[in-house]
Symmetry: C2
Subunit: 724 residues, 2 copies
C-alpha cells in the first residue's frame, strides 16, 4: 500500500546549534479514494509491523478503532467521535469518503532534551468521514509508530461545520482485560496526587483513599475517573500508556472507566456551564496517544508525544538555555522563613499598601542578606541561577481569597533591593530567576504580563517560575479547561516575544508543547518534592513519574533534598523526606529536565559537600539517553550522554523494595577506559532509618563492564563517567 | 444634631476650564457614640426637611430603613444587609456601635454635562453596626438630599471580615402601595428592552410579553424582576426613582418584587457559580439611590447619581471634548451596506486570513470612497467626527459564534486605506472615531487593548465606540457581573492613560461613573434608535429614557432619523421609524449627551437641509438646564443654555398622545430680546402617516414669553434661541 514519493531536505528546528540537516522521507499513498466508500475497514501498521491499527466503520456508520501489538490486543474495538451542542453528534451515520496514507521518516533536533536528534518515523492513515445526513466532514488521522499510535480528529473548513461546541468526546479506550493501572484521580484543577497502583476494576474502591494534594481546590471529578498520562500493564506483560499530545485550544482529557466493560471514555474538562470545547474549523483536537511495548523501557524511550507536536515556532532559540539553580524556596516550603513580610494587616490592597509603615514579622525569606547568601553559594558551586520567591508585595493574603488583584509582579518588598541584588548577581556571574505567582487570577496576570515581562528584561531576568495556586478566577473556570489552557499558552508565547523562559507550576500538565515552544523549559503539574515537607510522599513516586507525568515533558521536580528530617529546619514540621540521599542524586538523571534545582538549603549542602559534587557535575542536556532498567513505580535506571561532551551520567531510582540494579555500560564507546564516580546507598541505608548513608567510590570501566549496585528502600545511585 | 465644623477650600474637578472654586461646607456630628448602643432608631432629614430617613435596629438586631417625603411614605420599613457564603450573614444580630453625622454643601464642576456647576448638598448619617456574635463590623452610610437618598454598605478593614463572598444582598425597597412602574425585565446581559408601564402587581403578568431585544442573549432572570433605574409613581403623585450610583467592583443590582408584599429586594447579577460579589475590606457596595419628588421634573433635575460618585480621577482633562458626529453606521443597521467584506469563507481565522485572496461581496460599507463621502459631509456641515464601523477584519463571523479571537482591532480591510483616510480626514478638519466591537470576548479585547489604543493614538483617533454584543466569554459570565463590570472600568481607565474617550455599547448601564472618569463620554446600555430599523420602537420610549436610563449618565442614543420608511434604504426591511422628524430633533436637547450623532445617511439630510440646521446648531455641553415639563413616557420638555455661550436650546419630546406643550421662557435673561427658531410638527404630522411634516418658524421672544406648541403623536419640537 505504501510507496516512496520523494526525498526532500528538511530544515532543522535547532538552527542555532548547527546546520546539520537530516533527510526526510515522505511516502505517499495510492489509497486516496474519491467519493463515498461506505462502511468498511482500513488497516495501517507501524513501520516495523508490530503495531497494527484497525479502523472500522460499523453498519450504523459509527467509527471505531482497535490496536494490537505483536498480535496482542492493546485497545479493543473502541468508539470514536464527538457529541456537539447543536447540529447533531459526530458519532455515527458516517461514510468513508476517502483514505489518505503517508509514511514519514525524518529526524529533527530539539533545542534541548533527552536526545539531540529525534527520529519521527510513522505510517499515517487519514480516514475522511462524511455524514451524509448533515453534509459534515470529519477526518480521523492516525499515525502508527513502532512504539504506539497517535490519532486525532480533524475538521476541514466547511460551511456545515464552521463553529461548533463539543459537549463530550466519546473517544474510547477499551481495555483488553482488567489491567494493572498506575493512576491519579480525575481532577480539573490539580495533578498533585500520589499514584495508586491497582487493577482497573479496583479504581473506584481506592478512589476515596487516594492521597490528596495539600492544596485541594475544586476537587475530583468522579470515582471512576483518572488522569493521563495513565500507565497500564497487561497480565501478559504489555506496557501501555495513554495520554495526549499537542493540547492546544482544547480542554484536558481525563478518562472515565466503565467498570463493567473496562472501557475508558474521554472526559474533557468543562467550562463553567459544562461545555467542553468551542471549535472553529479548520481545526483539530489534540492527539490521543497510545504508547505500547512488551518492554517497560520503551515507554520511557518513546518520542511519540514530542513527534506529534508541531516543529519549533521560535526562530532564534539562542537565548533558550538549560539552567541549574538554587533558590530561596525550600526554606519557605519547610517554614523556616516566609514569603510574606508582615503580619500587621488583615489584607493587602495593592493600590494603596505602604509596607514601609508596617512592622516586619522578621521571617521574610527574600531579604537582601539572604538572597546574597544564595547568590554567593550559586557562584561558589557554579550554578547558573538563583530563584527568589516572596520578593514581591502581596504575599500576606495571596492564597485562597479569590482575590482578583493579588500581585503586581513588579513591586519588591522594602527589604528586597532589586537593583542592588540584580547588580550583585551579575557581578557574581549568576542569573536571578523571576517568580510570578498568579494565585490563579488569570486576568490579573494577563493584564500585567507585558509590564511584568518588560520589567524582567529591564532587570536581566531571562526565566520565570510562574504559579497557579488556588481556584481559577473567574469563578467556575478550572485549571484544565480550554479557556485556561489557552492562557498558559498565551503566557508562553508572549514570554517568547520577550525571550523569556517559562517554568509554569500548577498549570496544565505538558503534552509535548516544548517542541514547539522550547522556552517552556519546565512545568510542575504533578506532586513535586515539596510534598516531602507536607507530610511526605510514599516511596516509588519518582519511579512512576517517568512513566506518567514526564511523558508530556520535563518536570521542575526540585530534587536534591539531603536533609530528611524537616523538623531540623522547623521544629513544628514533623515531615520526613522519604528517600535516601543517593536516591535524590539519581533523580537528576532519571527525571531529565533542562531546568534542575538543587532544592535544599546551602547550609545542608555544605555538610554533604562530597555528595553535592554530583549535583554540581551533572549535565542538563543530552545527546543520547539509554533506558537500562525500568518497571513502573519500582525502579528506573537511565544513562545519558551529556550534549556535546564526553561525559555520561547514570541514575538509578528505586521504589519501596530494596533491589540490586545491574548497570550495563555497553552504551559507552567501545575500546576506551572511563572513570566512573559512583554515589550509592550505604549498606545500611534506608529511607526512614538511615537515609544519609551513602558511599562514593571510583571505578574504571569500559563498555563491557556490568556493575551490580545495591539500592536501598527508596534508595538509588548516581554515576558520573568521564574518560579515564 | 448637626453642627458646622469647618469650611475648607475645594479643588475643582475641572481644572482645565477654570480655577474657580466653590466653598465646601463640611459639618460634623456630635453623635459619635463609643461602644454599643444596642437596638434603637436614628433619623436624618434632608437639608430642606422634606426627605426623612429613619434607621431602625429591630429587637433581633436587624437593620431597617424607611423614607418619607413631605410626610408621605416613599419606602416603608425595609431590611438592610447581605448574605455571605461563609461566616454567617450580615443581616441581623447587630448592635449600633456609633452614629456619625455630617452635613456637606459643596459645588463642583463637571468636565461636561447638563450643568457647569453641580451643587452637592446633603446630610449624612453613618450607622456603625457591630455583630457581637462574630465581632464583625458593617457601616450603613446614608446621604439625604432634598431630592432623595443614597445609602451604601461599608466594611472597614477588620480581621473578622477581611475577605467575604456575597451570595445575596437583602436590601429591600418596600413600596408604599401598588405603584405605577415603568420597567424593563431583569436580565443580566442586556437592557435593550422597551419599557412597560404597569402597576407593580401586574409586572409578572406582562413579563412574557415584554418586547425583547433583537439580540437575545442569556435571557431574563425571572417574572418578578425588573432593572434599574426604575421609575415609579404613587397614586397621590409622588415620583420615585430607584437606581444605584458608583457601581465599582460589584455586580449590577436588579430588583425582585414580592407581589404579595409589594416589596422589592436587591437581585445581584451572579458569577458563573451563582456567587455575587467577592469583597475585600475595607470596601463598600455601590450606593443605592432613591430619588423622590412630587414634581416629575425634579427626577430629571436630580444630581444625586453624579454627586454620589467620586471626584474626577483624571488630572488633565483638556483632551476630553464633546463631539458631534456622523458615521458609516445607519446604512449598515438598515442593511444598505455591510460591516463584512466577503462571503467567500465559512469563517475567519485572524492569524491566517488573507482577504486579498477573497472575492468581495460588494456591499462593504467602510470603503475608501464611502468613508470619504462621510468625511466630506462632516466637514461641510461642521461635524467634529466620523464613526466608521466595519473597518477592521473579522466581521464575517463576528457574532454568536462564541469565538475567542474575533477581532484584532488593528487590521483594516483591504478597501479601507487607513493612512489615506486618516490624512484625508485631518486635512478636512474632521476626526475619525474608532470602533472596537469585542463580540463580548473580554479576554481577547484586554489582551489586545494596549496595542489597539496605541494604534488609535498613532493614527490620530481620540475616541472609541466599543461594543459587547453576544454572550460574554468565558462561558457562564454575563454582562453585568462583578468580573465583567471590572472589565468595563479597566477599559475606561486604560483609555484614560492613552487620553482616549470611550463610548461603550452593550456594556453595563451607567451609574454616574462619568464624574470620576469623564472620558466615558457615552454608553448605549438601553434600546437605542437602531431598533427603529429592527421592527420599530413604540412611541414614548424617548420620553421614559430620561427618567430611567439617563439617570446614570448620557446615552449614545443616535438620534436624527429623518427617513421613517426603512424600505427606502433596503426594500427587504419594512421597519418604520415611529417618530416625527421634529421629535428626532427634540432628542438632541431632551437626551443630553456630550456625544451626539446625526445618525441618518448624508443623502437624507441633504433632502431636509432646513431641518438639519438644528442638528448643526445644537450644543453638546451646558451651563444650565431647565426641566419645563415632564411626565414619564408621555412628554419631556427641556431647555438648556449652551456652555459659555449666549445660546439656548429647547426640546420637546412627546409620547403617543398628541398634546400642546407650554414653553415658559422665564429661564432667559430678563429684559432682552431673543430670536427663537422653532422646528415643530406640522399640523397634520403623525409618526405613522405623516412624520416628515414639520414647520420651521422664527419668533422674537423674551423671558416673559410663554409659547404653546402642538406636539403630534410621537412628535415634538426643537428651538434654537440666540440674542435678537
Amino acid at each position: 500500500m505504501f510507496f516512496v514519493l520523494k526525498n526532500i531536505g528538511y530544515l532543522c528546528e535547532n538552527n542555532s546549534y548547527t546546520f546539520f540537516c537530516m533527510k526526510k522521507t515522505i511516502c505517499g499513498a495510492m489509497a486516496l479514494l474519491m467519493g463515498f466508500v461506505g462502511a468498511g475497514a482500513e488497516t495501517v501498521s507501524s513501520p516495523d509491523g508490530n503495531v497494527v491499527l484497525d479502523f472500522t466503520l460499523t453498519q450504523t456508520g459509527e467509527p471505531q478503532y482497535a490496536i494490537t501489538y505483536k498480535g496482542k490486543d492493546v485497545i479493543k474495538p473502541s468508539r470514536l467521535g464527538l457529541k456537539l451542542k447543536s447540529g447533531g453528534d459526530l458519532t455515527d451515520g458516517f461514510t468513508i469518503a476517502g483514505v489518505d496514507t503517508l509514511t514519514v521518516d525524518e529526524t529533527w533536533k530539539p533545542v534541548w532534551g533527552e536526545e539531540s536528534q529525534i527520529r519521527n518515523h510513522y505510517k499515517e492513515m487519514a480516514v475522511k468521514l462524511k455524514q451524509p445526513s448533515t453534509k459534515r466532514e470529519m477526518d480521523v488521522r492516525f499515525r502508527v509508530f513502532d512504539d504506539g499510535v497517535g490519532f486525532r480528529y480533524e475538521f476541514p473548513m466547511q460551511k456545515k461545520l464552521s463553529y461548533f461546541t463539543v459537549t463530550d468526546e466519546v473517544t474510547e479506550f477499551a481495555m483488553p482485560g482488567d489491567l494493572t493501572a498506575w493512576w491519579i484521580p480525575g481532577d480539573n484543577d490539580t495533578q498533585e496526587y500520589e499514584y495508586t497502583r491497582s487493577r482497573l476494576s479496583k479504581i473506584s474502591k481506592h478512589y476515596d483513599s487516594t492521597v490528596n494534594p495539600t492544596y485541594v481546590w475544586q476537587g475530583k471529578t468522579g470515582p471512576n475517573d483518572v488522569q493521563t498520562a495513565l500507565m497500564l500493564k497487561t497480565d501478559d506483560g504489555l506496557y501501555v500508556n495513554l495520554h495526549e499530545a499537542a493540547l492546544v485550544d482544547y480542554p484536558v482529557m481525563h478518562l472515565r472507566l466503565n467498570p463493567e466493560t473496562l472501557t475508558f471514555t474521554s472526559l474533557l474538562a468543562p467550562d463553567a456551564v459544562g461545555d467542553k470545547a468551542h471549535m472553529q474549523s479548520d481545526c483539530t483536537t489534540p492527539w490521543r496517544t497510545v504508547i505500547v511495548s512488551d518492554d517497560a523501557r520503551d515507554i520511557l524511550a518513546s518520542r511519540i508525544t514530542l513527534n506529534l507536536n508541531e516543529p519549533c515556532a521560535i526562530e532564534d532559540v539562542s537565548w533558550i538555555k538549560p539552567c541549574k539553580y538554587v533558590g530561596v524556596w525550600w526554606e519557605m516550603i519547610n517554614r523556616m522563613s516566609k514569603w510574606s513580610y508582615t503580619n500587621d494587616m488583615p489584607n493587602i490592597h495593592l493600590d494603596r499598601v505602604d509596607y514601609t509603615k508596617t512592622k516586619p514579622h522578621g521571617k521574610h525569606g527574600a531579604t537582601n542578606e539572604n538572597v546574597k547568601r544564595y547568590i554567593d553559594f550559586a557562584a561558589k558551586y557554579g550554578f547558573d541561577a538563583v530563584l527568589v520567591e516572596g520578593w514581591n508585595i502581596g504575599w500576606e493574603d495571596w492564597s485562597g481569597k479569590e482575590k482578583d488583584e493579588v500581585f503586581d509582579f513588579i513591586t519588591p518588598y522594602p527589604d528586597f533591593d532589586l537593583p542592588m541584588l540584580r547588580d550583585y548577581a551579575k557581578e557574581k556571574g549568576v542569573k536571578l530567576i523571576m517568580h510570578h505567582e498568579t494565585s490563579s487570577s488569570v486576568r490579573n496576570y494577563e493584564r500585567r504580563m507585558d509590564e511584568a515581562y518588560k520589567f524582567m528584561k529591564d532587570n536581566g531576568y531571562d526565566a520565570v517560575k510562574s504559579g497557579y495556586v488556588g481556584n481559577i478566577i473567574p469563578a467556575g473556570s478550572n485549571h484544565y479547561s480550554q479557556w485556561t489552557n489557552n492562557h498558559y499558552l498565551h503566557a508562553i508565547k508572549k514570554a517568547a516575544d520577550y525571550k523569556i523562559m517559562v517554568n509554569a507550576h500548577e498549570a496544565v500538565r505538558p503534552t509535548g508543547l516544548c517542541r514547539t515552544w522550547p522556552n517552556l523549559i519546565g512545568n510542575e503539574s504533578a506532586r513535586g518534592s515539596e510534598y516531602h515537607a507536607f507530610g511526605g510522599t510514599t516511596p516509588g513516586h519518582t519511579a512512576i513519574l517517568p512513566f506518567t507525568r514526564l511523558i508530556g515533558g520535563p518536570m521542575d521536580y526540585t530534587p536534591g533534598l539531603f536533609e530528611n528530617d524537616i523538623s531540623k529546619y522547623n521544629p513544628k514540621n514533623k515531615s520526613w523526606v522519604n528517600t535516601t540521599l543517593a536516591n535524590q542524586l539519581s533523580l537528576y538523571v532519571t527525571m531529565s529536565s533542562p531546568l534542575q534545582m538543587a532544592a535544599d538549603v546551602p547550609e545542608t549542602y555544605e555538610k554533604f559537600i562530597d555528595a553535592f559534587q554530583f549535583i554540581k557535575d551533572v549535565a542538563l542536556d543530552w545527546d543520547e539517553s539509554y533506558y537500562l532498567e525500568a518497571e513502573p513505580m519500582e525502579y528506573v535506571t537511565t544513562a545519558r550522554k551529556a550534549k556535546g561532551e564526553e561525559r555520561w551520567f547514570v541514575g538509578g531510582t528505586n521504589g519501596m523494595e530494596p533491589r540490586t540494579a545491574t548497570v550495563d555500560f555497553s552504551f559507552l564507546p567501545k575500546g576506551k577506559k572511563f572513570k566512573a564516580v559512583i554515589y550509592r546507598d550505604g549498606k545500611d541505608a534506608h529511607y526512614k532509618t538511615n537515609p544519609q548513608s551513602y558511599v562514593i567510590e571510583e571505578k574504571t570501566i569500559t563498555s563491557k563492564t556490568k556493575l551490580k549496585i545495591a539500592e536501598a528502600a527508596s534508595g538509588g545511585f548516581a554515576i558520573t563517567i568521564t574518560p579515564a
